[in-house]
Symmetry: C2
Subunit: 504 residues, 2 copies
Amino acid sequence: MSQTAFSTSSNHDMPASITDSPLYKLINPDSIAFFGASNNFGSMGTSQLASLINLGFQGHIYPVHPKEPTVLGLKAYKSVADLPETPDLAVMVLPTRIVLDTIVQCGKKGVKNAIVVSGGFREVGAKGRDLEQTLIQSARRYGMRFLGPNCLGVANPHHKLNTTFLPYQGKAGFLGMVSQSGSFITQMFDYLSRTGMGFSTAISVGNEADIDLVEGLKYLAACPHTKLISLYIETIRDPRNFIETASAVTLNKPVIAYYVGGSVSGKQACLSHTGALSGPDRLYDGVFRQTGIIRSRSIEEMFDMASLFGNVPEPRGNRLVIQTHSGGPGAVAADACDREGLKVPVMPDAVKKELSRLVPHTGSIGNPVDITFSKDRLAYFSSIPGCLLDADHFDILLIYLLLPKHMFRRVMESMGVPENQIASETEKLIIELADKIEELVQTYGKPVIGFSFHAQEAFFIKALRARNIPVMQSPHRAARAVAALCRYTKWRKDRFELGGTVCY
Amino acid sequence: MSQTAFSTSSNHDMPASITDSPLYKLINPDSIAFFGASNNFGSMGTSQLASLINLGFQGHIYPVHPKEPTVLGLKAYKSVADLPETPDLAVMVLPTRIVLDTIVQCGKKGVKNAIVVSGGFREVGAKGRDLEQTLIQSARRYGMRFLGPNCLGVANPHHKLNTTFLPYQGKAGFLGMVSQSGSFITQMFDYLSRTGMGFSTAISVGNEADIDLVEGLKYLAACPHTKLISLYIETIRDPRNFIETASAVTLNKPVIAYYVGGSVSGKQACLSHTGALSGPDRLYDGVFRQTGIIRSRSIEEMFDMASLFGNVPEPRGNRLVIQTHSGGPGAVAADACDREGLKVPVMPDAVKKELSRLVPHTGSIGNPVDITFSKDRLAYFSSIPGCLLDADHFDILLIYLLLPKHMFRRVMESMGVPENQIASETEKLIIELADKIEELVQTYGKPVIGFSFHAQEAFFIKALRARNIPVMQSPHRAARAVAALCRYTKWRKDRFELGGTVCY
């Protein structure tokens, strides 16, 4: 992994090695017994097994089915007892009434890890609560750990594991996720693929009858693929444990939480969704502050922050310089950054002097630097940002990106590039420019963050992202994410210096 | 235009017909003299003329150039005096020092409308202020109206007019824009094309030496293509006039404003951008409230609101019902709507009874309605939303959309559709579903608003948009835009009933 803001060295409270984690084999199994898949795509279990196969899981998969000889092309077994080996993991997408029996059968076979996808437990009321108790007891009897019930399991693209019903074809990334909503994870697959960030491991904890949010958090804290962790929270069931663990984790890895139960309607929705009893918004705010968790106010903000935290070097302070070629977006960015508590210092005279050689006289050498319409479009990606990053007065460079294809086309045409080479030459030029920006980051060790109204799929944006230069989707989203990065960095530094007593 | 929330009948304070507007010929010219374009794409004027040609302007274009016999393939003229007719409009992208002389020459030719793109006037200090005064006097002498200086002019896709330096290839839409930042308009071309909304007419007013924000607003209020208006504001130069005009306009068309000068850094940036002296945030808030203008807090919010206001029928109240097939996004939406002051009422028993027949028992028939994993995926787009829209208890339906391709593929496979027809059959099915939703909107006359984390370019989302069903990019963005729609609708109703004394 490339060098970024936050070390991933493990903490004394965490497992020394990921393989020591009690969840290791559940999240990195070599073999899986799969209950509830058939050859009918109308069933959820079938979709889930299809996702697993689709991602190219490398170990053995043993579908268990009472009637079918094969399931999705794999040899099926009538019962878990018939399997040629004891699988590391059992995945159950079964009617509620037969889950308990299946747990016992798996226990007898020696299975130590299970994912219980099936619902119909605590979330449906008193009867379900009793069933869930029996489930817990049965699993304990056989020393079995399990996720769920009422969950979607695990997606670990680094291990080519995906037990959810949606296929994942994106990147194996650096963002770890623990979620009390399974759908929250799957629903973000498309978004996370599309924005190129991907994720390291996503754990859907469902009713948390055994493995809970906190254990998921601990696992990801120790996971070497995971640079930072996001939590989707409907309720914190064990506050003391959560606070202790999170306080330790945040010293090493940023943790971003989205809490959904803070309003009356949110609370109501959580209750019917996972049976979670949410608490008052302020209480959760307090917990997050105390533990150094960054609270995001929306889903997109969560992922904006993740992309920033996981990609850029640690900022030395919160003084921003903004570079633009368009006054409007520059002014909007300055306003947004100011409102988020970031500093947008006046351009010092020494830097102005340098800039006056690079910026046309129709532009502005204040902060934002606005080069307006310049003939030397390439200076925008090398000498100008170089000058700004070189100045001790700034900690972070925020750079506006508008690069419509036709502009490159005109540059190419003016350089006399023949028509049939314009597309390939444009790509070459874009890669050259993206390389230049990457070099600047390496030279100065300061965060360079783009913002643009372009689609995330645009070639230039993809090229920058591939070089760990995040490109935010608007000035406001950039400002919010950068502010969170600066707050967390300062909080973490203070806590190291002051010995663990600082509130976020 | 399709029937939507707000009538576009003109108000007594506004020109009775758009052709009576003093800006009509400037924004809808039949012939244009173009100063400052050459055959060199390094110059901004050339890019601007190229944009105009590129959009397919239907009238005559007369490039004026001291040396070139042709400019971008058009016959060029040495001076405006040589033109075979008096053009409706002169566009000037000239060095500051020759603008004044050119205005005089145009005046002598009888030209009555000009766009002065050139900068170097008030925004650069005392000397520029003097120049700007002379410019105003010269134009007055010849009865000439002009936009600018220091602006990008006008883009009116309905008239195939685009004087800015960026080509526009998107839709001729319903959103009118007046902006004190020219770049703000051009920078949004890509976004507005990509999200399929487009715009009706965008006016860059620059330094507002003659035509100002208020006159632009008046023009758009009378424009039959414009359903609603967005303003990008760095300063309000004539508050009394602004308040009077805006108060009249908002009764007929929604006006959304983005104000950028409210923070110290924003103010600073505005000053160096257009020489605008911004005022305190609260003052602007007061002006917006008093006039019924909706204030947006970010650029994306502005366009989210526009897409909602311009597409959906007027809501009768602010009671939302949320439909989802995934608990997480449903809970997030409920929480976000509640925080924005919208009502998410408990599902009434009568509706629950209906729903229990349509929603699988693993789902939830509360609000949000969560159908979870259903075999009848098509019910999601017909019988379930039909039942919810039919209920008197709800004014608005917010519907979550996740429709990955592979899901349609599985439906197709299970229906026995041959491999080579899956793509075309999927498109057919999507169109059928989108038609169903459109029918529901027509039947019940209530807003149906989608939200999705998918790209705006996804086929299903495009199909819905084409049927005036807006799809917001996240639950939070949906909640904010819907809340603004409800507030504006209520404010407008109150003001009609109470005779013009209500604050927004």
